[in-house]
């Protein structure tokens, strides 16, 4: 460590790499924090956790007892054992007793991505509610057609404030906070939608994973989904050479969807000329786009039926660079998809069992690229490009539902069915340095 600091001092080490080096070391030493406790106010399993996206300071949790709570990650409310253990009590909760609290379990609680003034909860009582953080009052609510499994808001949306909601219903609905109404209804899934995730590279692209095992990509500016991920369409390695891939894929698509193309063309010909011009323009602009356009309204039924997992897709997570998508399924597999090509990268993650009946929440870290996956009672951290288990977090007494990685503090928060919210923080650095006088030290005590 001192070497690195010296290197930084003399300028041999760039600031960025210095920071990254330090961070990655910290991340690899994550362990159950003895110093930080979240006092869980929940009386049901914790279903959702999210640290706010602006400061990374406030943690929002949603639980099965219909309560959602907000914690301050950085400032503890009280200390125990002469400052050894920092207890973080929730700043406030909204629960069943609240006048417009949720009646049943909250399945998903997310922050409004722009600031911490609002947060959104989706519940099994068919409602999505938008809350004002400062007054702890519900400001907007949306009645959904079924239980809400997952809600998502785009972190980079500048032009819309849409909540994507996956529910029991086959349709994915986009709820507009600005207007208080549904702006889109995306149909295509054949079963309920367990997971929704906005693209991290485009504010218009939405990924959804359904109980039918399909992962669909939607461009919300257009009708219909533009891609259905197929686990059998694969590519070896994380990113194949672009040229070769496009050739292959275009050929394949040409071959497979010729009939569709014809129909599409005939359909298009009926439209006005301007549209045709526009269409041709877009087709010229990029191969990808044309393919998208050609595919989307009358996607071949074979393609439409493609599945990404056997069984339900329980979790989705886009990597921070937007190039890959991770999905977890009730077949206890994690798959890494190339979002550009839509191919399964065939990476084998060494998962054990993954919870099948509930949506799970994955988390990623950038450097080292790790994926945190709740695997029943443990959380495992896999190398994103290797699939190898790098870390294993054991501490929950019942299955873990969600995890949330806080990249500013390099801490991991996990919530489980045992109602606990556990903090996993980098260990070994300062633990031993603070010598406690009052507290009995932990040491050997051989009396005989």
């Amino acid at each position: 460590m001192w070497e690195a600091i010296q290197g930084r001092e003399t300028g041999r080490v760039r600031s960025n790499s210095f920071v990254n080096q330090f961070k990655s070391r910290r991340i690899l030493s994550l362990q159950l924090s003895n110093r930080k406790d979240f006092v869980s106010p929940h009386r049901g399993s914790v279903n959702s956790l999210q640290a706010d996206l602006t400061e990374g300071r406030y943690l929002l949790s949603g639980a099965s007892d219909g309560s959602a709570a907000v914690f301050d990650i950085q400032r503890a409310t009280e200390y125990e054992a002469s400052g050894l253990i920092a207890k973080h009590k929730c700043i406030f909760t909204v629960d069943k007793q609240h006048e417009n609290g949720h009646k049943y379990a909250i399945s998903s609680a997310i922050w409004y991505p722009i600031d911490t003034g609002l947060f959104v909860t989706g519940s099994y009582d068919h409602y999505i509610k938008v809350w004002d953080t400062n007054t702890a009052q519900a400001v907007v609510d949306f009645k959904m057609p079924g239980k809400v499994y997952r809600t998502a808001m785009s972190s980079l949306a500048m032009s819309h404030t849409l909540i994507a909601a996956g529910t029991e219903d086959v349709q994915v609905r986009l709820c507009d906070i600005a207007s208080g109404a549904f702006s889109h209804t995306l149909s295509g899934h054949r079963d309920g939608v367990m997971s929704v995730e906005w693209s991290t590279s485009s504010e218009w692209v939405l990924y959804t994973g359904g109980c039918d095992g399909a992962i669909r990509f939607w461009d919300i500016r257009r009708a219909g989904c533009f891609r259905v991920l197929d686990q059998s369409v694969t590519q070896l390695g994380v990113r194949p050479p672009v040229l070769k891939h496009t050739a292959v894929s275009s050929k394949k698509s040409a071959k497979s969807s010729s009939g569709a193309q014809n129909r599409l063309k005939s359909l298009q010909s009926k439209h006005t000329g301007s549209q045709i011009i526009k269409g041709s323009y877009s087709a010229k602009a990029s191969v990808e786009k044309s393919r998208q356009k050609r595919l989307h309204p009358g996607m071949l039924s074979t393609l439409d039926r493609a599945t990404a997992h056997y069984g339900a897709v329980t979790g989705l997570k886009a990597t921070n660079d937007g190039m890959y998508l991770l999905s977890a399924g009730s077949d206890s597999r994690i798959r890494l998809w190339d979002t550009e090509s839509g191919c399964n990268t065939l990476l084998n993650f060494e998962t054990g069992r993954i919870q099948t009946n509930k949506a799970i929440q994955l988390a990623t870290s950038d450097d080292p690229a790790l994926v945190f996956v709740p695997c029943m009672k443990t959380v495992k951290a896999f190398g994103m490009w290797s699939g190898k288990t790098r870390l294993m977090f054991r501490g929950h007494y019942e299955s873990v539902n969600c995890c949330c990685f806080n990249s500013t503090d390099q801490e991991l928060y996990t919530g489980g069915a045992d109602r606990q919210i556990l903090v996993w923080s980098p260990g070994g650095t300062m633990e031993g340095e603070m010598v406690q006088d009052e507290v009995a030290e932990d040491k050997d005590n051989w009396s005989d």
Binding site: L32, S33, N34, D37, A81, L84, I85, K377, R394, G395, Y397, D418, R419, Q420, L422, V439, A440, D442, K443, D444, N445, W446, S447, D448
Partner: protein, 977 residues
């Protein structure tokens, strides 16, 4: 490397050995060995942890328990071990607590329970000691405690409570000491003065005595007999010894006065002052006060005084004055006790001393005084003699002497010591609750002042004596056995095998009475000798021969006995027979029948087979009769199932007597009616008989539909089924509401239920027409099956709910029944007449939450009305409300009007309206505010006075509105809210 392996083997072996035992605890020596091994090497600890975790997985609770003990021992000691264990804490807990349902604790279950409690206990201990350092422990503890709600012994809280209690007690003690110190400081001067005075006086007396002593006046020894009786030999010894010392002054008649004074003073000094001084010293040494200087000075002075007193006392002794040391010591003991008492006297409920102690020293000290002070010996003797038997008896023991006494002593029964002696003849009452069972009020409140009177104590302490039986020697039977040897049975009189016990010689032959004395001695030797007897072949042969002889003799005797017995039996039989015959002949009219019967009985006794056949024949005849009957029934067309399945002959005969078709059909109807009543069970007693006609009318169509109707009855709730009707795979039907309750299992055949509709039955039900459920209450209508339900919700004859509002009364019935119910069960006031004038008085008008519910029933125009008066919260405002309800239907209710008035002090509130029907629930009427509402302020104003009490006079009138009827005025029921 090798060494490590060796060591590893060692610790593994040790652990495995330790866990193989079946004891509750681990063998301490093995445990020590394990600890010793682990102490010196980290690798050992790692290996040990691994081994122990492996052992925890062993599928036997005993092994797990012992392993857990070892884990706990090492856990409390080694940090490394802790780190290793904590990593797998969840596993350890699931293996030891067994909280996972898929991983229950293995057999044996008794040990498993211990294992669980131990594990929980250990976890709590670990959490207490190391929880701070290991989040995992905290988590596990928290999970078990808060999520699984396991019960922890809560060690910390207990310890804290005990600590707190002790502190409280100390505080109280200190407080008491301080108070005492204050009082001592206040009275110190007085005390000092008194003591000084006494000492001075003693000195003066001593001087006088000494002077006399110097004079050398011969010492006349007091008459020995005077005190001989009252003093124990020991005391006398002391006395004699003191007498031997020539330089001591002896009491004479001349200086008796001086001595008396001296004695008095000494007594005062020793018994009072010395004690108080000692008390003071002990108090001062213990007390904790702010001004140490006063305390120290006081202490110093007290010690000086004490020394002074002791010196004086010594001087007295030197002079020969006999305040025996014994009293001193006794007195001291007593004072010590008293001291303790003093300290605790404030909270005697808790720590109070044994009451026995308080009582016990009394006779003792009396005794002592009696023996030492000769002058008052007479008086003391009398008192002591009269006071207690015990004292006198001890005294008797004490004074050795007179032969009479010795005799008496030798004759007196020796009484064993028992608790009853400690308060023998005491007249003091004993605290009943002096031990203060304060187990957190577990035993209820403790009455600290309860006492048990002395006589009760005596009664309770009655000595129980046990009758001790004299041990008698029971001689063994000693009859020779077939297999050799002698019978060793010990019976008092007779051996069940060998007859009466007679003295026998060592070979088992009975011997004559003369040699019985030495016989017993031999007898006792026999068991020991037996082995030697058997070992000797000669002896054995002889014995066998004797045995044979004996056996033969025995057999002969048995034969004889048998013959005698047989003869006796024959005689008895003959006698019985003759008696019976006589009796039979004696009975006159039925003699022949009885005779015959008698004969038959006799025949039965003689020949059982015949009887069996006869009874069988009888049975077959009855059976025949039944079959005949059945046949005839079938021919006539009645259902054979109507035949009650009875097995008894007589019952058959009965039913056979009145079996004809008409009869059965009427029975059928009544049965059905009963079923009906059961099905719609409500209190409809008074009308039961009045609807016979309708029932009869219904009976005309009932028999055709009965069976279908039965089919439409849900087997679970026994209500009629309405679509969707479900059925199981086997076709058992079930109503839809019950389907959700039966957990997808058919209640009839326990098959999986699935989701099958029974459309056929639904169609059948559709075609049915049934009378209204409230037929018995007078509804004459008949409806198609499905519209019946709809009708029943609005049927005019449907029963009313009890209008009593305060409690959730679920009684239903028609109006007369409800009136009776209100009167009898709710004790409601009944009035007749159409005007009323009521006063409502309530002492605490502020209370609204558990508001008053008052109900009065009026009877006028042949109808009943309920007047409700109650307090409730209207929004935020507390109000009182009065309204009238009509006991009957809405349509009828519209024919009546009522008015309510409340007022006083020149103001008046009036309400006029139509009574609501009791069909509308009380709450509904209340919440529609259809009545006289009085704000509390207004009500208090009407009550007048100091607004402390509510006194409302409500007057009202009910009248009949003729012209309005049928206009539908009731349709506009107001809702003022």
């Amino acid at each position: 490397m090798e060494g490590r392996d060796d060591g590893g083997g060692k610790v593994m072996g040790l652990i495995e050995k330790a866990t193989k035992s079946s004891a509750q605890e681990v063998d301490p020596r093995l445990l020590k060995a394990i600890k010793l091994t682990l102490r010196y090497s980290d690798s050992e600890v790692r290996l040990g942890a691994e081994t122990l975790m492996e052992l925890m997985k062993h599928h036997h609770s005993q092994v797990r328990l012992l392993t857990l003990h070892i884990i706990d021992e090492i856990f409390m000691r080694s940090k490394l071990f802790r780190a290793l264990i904590v990593e797998n804490l969840d596993q350890l807990l699931s293996l030891s607590v067994g909280f996972r349902t898929n991983l229950p604790l293995p057999a044996p279950s008794a040990v498993a329970t211990i294992l669980r409690t131990k594990a929980i206990e250990f976890l709590e201990k670990w959490n207490l000691t190391f929880g701070l350092h290991y989040k995992e422990i905290r988590l596990g503890f928290d999970y078990l405690k808060n999520t699984l709600k396991l019960k922890f012994p809560d060690l910390q809280a207990n310890a804290a409570r005990i600590q707190r209690e002790r502190q409280e007690r100390e505080m109280r003690t200190k407080e008491i000491l301080r108070n005492k110190f204050d009082s001592l400081r206040n009275t110190f001067g007085l005390l000092k003065g008194e003591i000084g005075e006494t000492i001075e006086e003693i000195k003066e007396c001593l001087e006088i005595v000494q002077w006399r002593g110097d004079d050398g006046i011969p010492l006349a020894i007091l008459d020995e007999e005077d005190y001989e009786e009252i003093r124990c030999s020991h005391l006398r010894q002391i006395r004699l010894e003191s007498l031997k010392q020539s330089d001591k002054v002896e009491e004479t008649s001349e200086n008796r006065v001086v001595f008396d004074v001296l004695r008095e003073k000494c007594k005062l000094l020793v018994k009072k002052h010395l004690i108080s001084v000692q008390e003071g010293i002990s108090l001062l040494t213990r007390v904790d006060v702010s001004d140490n200087r006063t305390r120290d000075s006081l202490l110093k002075e007290l010690i000086d005084i004490k020394n002074n007193i002791l010196a004086t006392e010594k001087k007295c002794e030197e002079v020969g004055f006999t305040i025996s040391r014994m009293i001193d010591t006794r007195e001291k003991e007593e004072t010590d006790e008293e001291e303790e008492d003093d300290i605790w006297e404030e909270d005697d409920g808790k720590v109070g001393t044994d009451p026995v102690k308080n009582v016990a020293p009394l006779p003792r000290s009396q005794n002592g005084e009696g023996s030492s002070f000769q002058s008052s010996s007479e008086a003391h003797r009398s008192t002591s003699e009269s006071s207690s038997n015990k004292a006198s008896s001890t005294r008797k023991f004490g004074t050795s002497g007179g032969s009479l006494r010795d005799n008496l002593i030798s004759e007196a029964p020796v009484m064993n010591w028992g608790s009853q002696l400690s308060n023998w003849d005491s007249t003091t009452e004993v605290r009943a609750n002096h031990r203060g069972l304060e187990l957190e009020s577990h035993w209820g409140r403790v009455d600290q002042d309860a006492v048990i009177p002395a006589d009760k104590i005596a009664e309770l302490n009655l000595q129980a004596t046990v009758y001790r039986e004299e041990r008698a020697e029971i001689h063994p039977c000693h009859a020779p056995l077939k297999k050799g040897g002698l019978c060793q049975r010990r019976d008092l009189r007779a051996c069940p095998f060998h007859g009466p016990i007679v003295p026998r010689d060592d070979e088992g032959n009975p011997i004559t009475q003369e040699s019985s004395e030495n016989q017993t001695g031999i007898d006792q030797d026999v068991p020991m000798d037996e082995s030697t007897l058997v070992s000797d072949p000669n002896q054995l042969a002889r014995q066998i021969a004797k045995q044979a002889l004996k056996n033969i003799r025995e057999k002969d005797r048995e034969e004889l006995m048998k013959i005698a017995n047989r003869a006796k039996l024959a005689k008895v039989r003959e006698h019985n027979f003759s008696v019976l015959r006589d009796a039979a002949l004696a009975s006159t009219s039925k003699s022949a029948v009885i005779d015959e019967q008698f004969d038959r009985v006799f025949a039965a006794r003689k020949n059982k087979k015949q009887t069996f056949s006869s009874t069988r024949r009888k049975k077959t005849t009855s059976k025949d009769r039944i079959s005949e009957r059945l046949l005839s029934n079938r021919v006539k067309g009645t259902k054979p199932k109507q035949l009650p399945p009875q097995g008894d002959d007589e019952k058959y005969r009965e039913t056979a007597a009145n079996q004809c078709m008409d009869c059965t059909s009427t029975m059928d109807v009544t049965d059905d009616e009963e079923i009906h009543q059961d099905r719609h069970s409500y209190a409809s007693v008074p009308k039961h008989h009045s609807n016979n006609s309708s029932a009869n009318a219904a009976s005309a169509l009932l028999p055709t539909t009965t069976s279908v109707h039965e089919l439409l009855e849900c087997p679970v709730c026994t209500n009629s089924m309405y679509p969707p009707i479900h059925q199981c795979h086997n076709g058992h039907t079930l109503c839809s509401t019950c389907k959700t309750r039966v957990h997808n299992r058919c209640p009839t055949c326990r098959q999986e239920l699935g989701d099958i509709r029974c459309l056929a039955l639904e169609k059948v039900a559709e075609s049915l027409e049934l009378p209204c459920k409230y037929m018995s209450l007078g509804c004459p209508e008949i409806f198609p099956y499905y519209s019946k339900l709809k009708h029943e919700t609005i049927c005019n004859f449907r029963p009313y709910n009890c209008p009593y509002a305060g409690s959730e009364c679920s009684v239903m019935g028609d109006i007369p029944f409800l009136v009776a119910h209100l009167r009898d069960d709710h004790k409601v006031d009944m009035h007749s007449g159409c005007t009323f004038n009521h006063r409502y008085v309530k002492s605490n008008p502020r209370e609204v939450e558990n508001a008053t519910w008052m109900l009065t029933v009026f009877h006028c125009f042949g109808q009943y009305f309920c007047l409700h008066f109650e307090a409730f919260q209207l929004g935020m405002a507390p109000v009182y409300m009065a309204f009238l309800r009509f006991m009957g239907d809405e349509t009828e209710a519209r024919n009546y009007n009522y008015s309510l008035e409340v007022g006083g002090y020149g103001r008046k509130l009036t309400w006029e309206g139509t009574p609501r029907s009791v069909r509308d629930s009380h709450r509904k009427v209340r919440d529609s505010h259809d009545g006289l509402i009085i704000q509390r302020n207004m009500a208090l104003f009407f009550s007048g006075g100091d607004r402390k009490e509510l006194k409302l006079r409500v007057t009202g009138r009910i009248w009949k509105e003729q012209q309005q009827s049928g206009e539908g005025g009731g349709a506009c029921i107001p809702n003022l809210s």
